[in-house]
Symmetry: C2
Subunit: 183 residues, 2 copies
Amino acid sequence: MSKDIKSPANTTEVQQDLDIGNNIYAKSYKGQHLPTAPGRHYCVVTCMDSRIDVFPAFGMHLGDAHVIRNAGGSARDALRSIVISQQYLNTKEVILIKHTRCGLEMFTDPEADAMLEERRGKQALETVRQAGSGHWHAFGNQKVDEATREDVDFLKSSGCLVDGTEVSGWVFDVEKGRVKRVA
Amino acid sequence: MSKDIKSPANTTEVQQDLDIGNNIYAKSYKGQHLPTAPGRHYCVVTCMDSRIDVFPAFGMHLGDAHVIRNAGGSARDALRSIVISQQYLNTKEVILIKHTRCGLEMFTDPEADAMLEERRGKQALETVRQAGSGHWHAFGNQKVDEATREDVDFLKSSGCLVDGTEVSGWVFDVEKGRVKRVA
């Protein structure tokens, strides 16, 4: 860790473990000759959920694919990144994977608006809206299979993907570690 | 793979490898008893880059942390997810990690606007804008260390994080596999 930024005294445990774990990882790192564009020309969009270790869980290897992750694995939230992935880095397929027991099933957009305004104030809510689309992309009123299909439909009909892009939708079962295809 | 969705004949190689790799992974999956809220109460924000295998590279274990990934590891793009992570799933620390040789250094926002309009039309550009903030968060005019510090400053001054949130900024060197702290 760069000693000029923080002394160990005000470094958190998480930061220390990142530095220690990464130091070990770097000794056998194999990515040094990989290009910026993904070798297998696809991108994965999935949730930020802590139970999803994307590379082994989805049969991927270093350099294969872009990995876009956000709360709920929202395709709309991911659209900017997908377009950059396709137009600047030549990917041609999108794999969208939501999962069971997702936090985004626990609330709706109006509830999240009210929650944030109450806890952090009107200005915080406005800042989040301006930083994104103004939507939380919660699916408290939907089942995850349905939310996945809707996101796949959104991408296919968006007009933003390159012609012939393959888009498929999957659900990862956090109790079994298994994916099933739903779209 | 659910046989009712697609016959093997029109399944892509990427989809087949996902299914095969995941089937093997599921046999030794250890996440079945983990809760939705991350055990170590932090979230990582990083780039979608294919050379970043987050769990081993950043010393993480299944269930530890949320992982938010987008083109460039943009904090603004990640803000919706960070707020959900904190307010609904109790995380209290943000680790922001950009990386060297990032695709987002290759262009600027006006260049991306012009590129998409030319290739996919005005409506596609409008759809991407509406799905997000209207920004590409490219840093073609900035060095990655500087872009990382700016994003950390944005988060700290956003007013959107819970009080006392620890935010640090790091850069992953894709040629060495090593992180260094820059903020």
